[in-house]
Subunit: 553 residues, 2 copies
Amino acid sequence: MSVERPPPEMSWWGWGDPDRPFSLPHSAAELLRREIGIGELRRPPVALEDVHLREPALPAGLRDKLVGAAGADSVRDDRLGRVLHAAGKGYGDLVHQRSGQCEQAPDVVVAPSSHESVRDVLEVCADAAVAVVPFGGGTSVVGGVAPMRGAFPAVISLDLHRLDALCAIDERSLIAVFEPGVRGPAAEALLARRGLTLGHFPQSFQYGSLGGFAATRSVGQASTGYGRFDELVVGLRCAAPAGDVSLAAVPASAAGPSVRELIVGSEGTLGVITQLALQVRPRPRARRYEGWMFGSFAEGAEALRSLVQRSEPPDVARLSDEVETRVSSALAGGGAKAAAGRVYLRARGYTAGCVVIVGWEGSQESVRLRHAHGARVLRRAGGLPVGRGPGVSWERSRFAAPYLRDDLLERGVMVDTLETATTWSNLLVLHRAVTDALHGALAARGTPALVMSHVSHLYPTGASLYFTFLAAQEVDQPLEQWRAAKQAASEAIVSAGGTITHHHAIGRDHVPWLAAEIGQPAVRALEAAKAALDPSGIMNPGKLLPERGDQPV
Amino acid sequence: MSVERPPPEMSWWGWGDPDRPFSLPHSAAELLRREIGIGELRRPPVALEDVHLREPALPAGLRDKLVGAAGADSVRDDRLGRVLHAAGKGYGDLVHQRSGQCEQAPDVVVAPSSHESVRDVLEVCADAAVAVVPFGGGTSVVGGVAPMRGAFPAVISLDLHRLDALCAIDERSLIAVFEPGVRGPAAEALLARRGLTLGHFPQSFQYGSLGGFAATRSVGQASTGYGRFDELVVGLRCAAPAGDVSLAAVPASAAGPSVRELIVGSEGTLGVITQLALQVRPRPRARRYEGWMFGSFAEGAEALRSLVQRSEPPDVARLSDEVETRVSSALAGGGAKAAAGRVYLRARGYTAGCVVIVGWEGSQESVRLRHAHGARVLRRAGGLPVGRGPGVSWERSRFAAPYLRDDLLERGVMVDTLETATTWSNLLVLHRAVTDALHGALAARGTPALVMSHVSHLYPTGASLYFTFLAAQEVDQPLEQWRAAKQAASEAIVSAGGTITHHHAIGRDHVPWLAAEIGQPAVRALEAAKAALDPSGIMNPGKLLPERGDQPV
C-alpha cells in the first residue's frame, strides 16, 4: 500500500489533483441513469479568473502586523490563495466553488511556521477583532474551515501547513510528537522509517492534517482496531488567545474534567492546536482482508455485534446495506468473474444480501489467531466467505470516493454523505429512519434518491452508520435541495437517538442540532469555556457554537 | 469470589464494619517495629458522644424547605448522621475523626430519592446560597466529600444512597443504566442475575458508589482489561443548579468537545450525577491469576511494557517494587511453604526481586490463548513463574488494605497512599523521584519512612504508579507531618512529569497542583464552565477548583 506518496496540490473546485482525468465508470453512469434519471449534461467548474471575490478588507495596518508576526512569505492574498481557502470539501462548498461564488473567501491567508508565530498572529487578530479560521488540510465536509465573517470586519485563514515537523519519537512509550500541519501520508512516511504507524486512514487521508484529525475527532477506516484519532492523542499544545494550554503526555489521569477532551474536538473555536503527542504502533507485519456475504443487513449487523462483543475485533469491519452492496457490485463492473460470483452466491441462497469486509493487521500470529476466531464467529452468524477479492478491491479504492464525487457533480448529480452512531439495539431503527427521511425529502422535491449506507466502526455498545445519498441535481436550487435532504436526515438522527455526528464533526452544517444532542446547559458551559480561552470570540466564528461567534465582543 | 455480599454500615472513624476485631498480624507489627520504630502504643478513636460538633447553623426556614424537597425521612441532623458525613477516608480525615474533631461536619444531611428531588434540593440551596457536598460512598481519600464551609452560611451533605435503582439493561448493547447511589457489591449482584459484570473492583469496591466512581474517574484492579470507569460511561444525566445535562447513550461522537468528559471527573463541582449508562460485559467463565518473579523493578516494568505493547494485555497486571515485594512477603507470614518458596527462588538467583501478579479473565479459550501468549512474553523478559499462590493470596486480600490502615492508625502509624501515571520511558525516573521525596521529607522530621510502590494499570504508552508510605506518627503534629510528606511527593510528581492523580481525583488535597498539570488558561476555562452550570458556586466548594468555591457569589 503506497499510502506514503505525497499527493499533488489540492484543486480549488474539487478533490485532489486538478489534472486528474474524468473517470466516472460507464457502469456507474448507466446505473445512475436508471436509478435517479440523470442525463448527458456536463457542468464543469468556472475558470479561476471568473470566480467572484470581494476586495480584501483588512483593517489599516493589519497586513503589516501579520507580516511582522509570521514573515512576509507567510502572508498571501492572491486570487488562487484566497479561493483555495474559501471553503472545505462539503457538497455545499463544492457547489459554491464550482459556480465561482467565493464572496466568503478570507481577506488574507497567513501561514505561520511555529507555535510562537501562531501566538503572535492570534494576538494581532485579537487586538484588531479580526476573525481567525484555522485551516489544516482543508478537507472538512461540514463547513469547518469556511470563513464566516458575521459582524467581523475581516477574516483570515490560518493555514498550518508549515507546522510540519515530527518533533520527537519516544519508541519505548510508543509516542510520536508532531506539529499539526503534517498530512496523513507525510506522517506515515516519517513513522515508517522507525517501523511505526498511526494506523489512521480516513477517506480524507491523502490531504487531511493531524491537527485537523484531532480538532474534529476524525475516525479512520481501521479505527475499530487502531482507535479513533481522539483516543490516540495523549498530550497536546494549543495556542488560545487567552494563553497556551499545554498538556504533557500521560497515559491517563483523574485530574478533574478532561482538558484534553475539551481541546480535542474543539474545531478551532478555542485556539489552534500547535503540537500533538500521539500514540503510535509497530507497523503490522501481516494483513488479511476478506469479504463475507450475509442474507440481510440485520443478519450482518448481528454478526458484527458478535465479533466485537465476543473478543478482540478485527481492525477493519464494514457492513454495506443491501443497496450499497448492489451499487458497489454494479460499479465494480461486469465480466465473467463477477457473473461467476453471482452464480456461486445464488446457488447458496444469497439472491440479494449484504457484503461485509473484515481486515486483520498485526503480527503473523495475531492475524492468524484473530482471523480464525473471527471467521468462526462470522460463519456461526450465517456468513458465507467470498474470498479476498472484495477486501482487496475495497482497499484499493478506499481513498477514491471524493474523486468520484467530482465526476458526479460534473454530471449534475447531487451527492453527499452523512454519518451517525448509536447502540446496537437501536441500529436498525436508526438505519431505517434516516434512509426513509432522505427518500422522503428528495421524493417530495421530485428528485427520487438513491440512498445507501454502511456500518464501519464497531464498539462493544454500538456502531457507526454512514450514509451516501444521490439524486439528480436541481439546476436552479441545488443548495435548497441539499438542505432539505440534510435537514430531514438530521432531524431523523436526532429523533431516533443517534449522535448528530460520529466523525465529521459539527462545523457549520451541524450547529442547529448540537443543542438537541447535549442540551442548552451544556451548550452554555462550552460557550463559557470558549469565552475564557477566546475572550473576543475571534476563533472560527459560526462553527460549533453559533451564539457568540456571530458577533465580535 | 463473594464480591456481592452487601457490607455492613460504615464506621464513622475508619473503614468498614466498626465491630470488626483488631487484626494487625503479628508479623506486620514486628516488621514495623524493626523498620520504622513503632512502640506498643494503642490510640483508639474517641467515643461518639465525645466528638466535637458545632450547632447546626441552617438559615431560617431552610430545613422545612429541604423536607419539602426531599421528604421528612430524608433529612437528618442527628449526631451520628452528621459525623458520618463529616469526612471521607483519607489519612487526614481519619486523624480528625478519630480524635473527635468534627467541627467541619455538615449542618444537615439530605438523602433525596429521585432526580427530581435532587433538582429541588439544589434549587432550595441555590436560593439560600448554601453549599452542597454530594456524598456517594463517602470513600474519597483526597478530601472529595469533606464539607468546606468557606464563606457559606451553611453546608449540606447530599447523600445519594437512596438513588439505588438499576433502571434498565440493554443486553444487546451491553449497557446497564444505574442510579448513582448503587454501591459496588449491589451493582455486581444486580448484574450477576443477567450473567453480566462491570468488572470494576477498586480497593473501595465494597463501599464506593457508581456515581462516585464516575465523578472521580475511579480505576479498578482489573481496569487494564475492563477499562477505567470513565471509559465505561456511555451516557449520563446530571442535575446542575443551572439545569440538567442529559447525554443519551451513544458509543462515540464527534459532536465537539466531550461533555461526557466534562461531567465525568467533575467531582460534584458542576452538579450531581443522577443516572449513568455504563458498558457491562458477560461475566467471565474462566479466571487465571498467577505470580511471576523478576530480578528488579526495572526488569519487571520492561516485562509489563512488552505485555501491553505486543498484544491484548492481561486483565490484571501488577508489579510490586523491591520493598513492596519484601513487605508483602513478610506480611504473608512465615511457615514451611514460604521458606520453601524462598529456597526455590534463591536457587534460581532471585535473592531479592520483584513480584508480578497477572490475571486473565474471559472465556476458557480466551484465557487459555492469552495466558499462553502472556507467559511467553514474561518468560522472554526474564520472569520466573511462581505459581498461582501469590495470585490467589493477592485476590483474597485485595479489599483488606483499608482495614489494615485502621489498625495501623491505632498503633500510632502514619500510613497513606498516593498515585500517579507517566509514560513508560519516564516510569523509573518518576518512581525514584517520589520514593526519594517521601524518604527525604520524613527523615527530615526524624520519622524515617517505609516507602513501597507498585505498577497496577497498563496502557500502551505508560503505566500508573501507586505508593504506600508509613512512618511512626508524630504525636503532637500528625497532620503537619503528613502534609510535609504529601507536599514533597506531589512536588516530585509534578517536577518529574507525572499526573498529580491517576485515579484518586483532585478533591481538596490535590487542588494546589492542578494548575501545574493543566495550566492557568485551562483552569480558567473549567472555572467558566462551572460558573455556567453552577452560577452561585454552591456545588462542592473548595474542591477541584479553589478560586471560586471558597466564596459564595
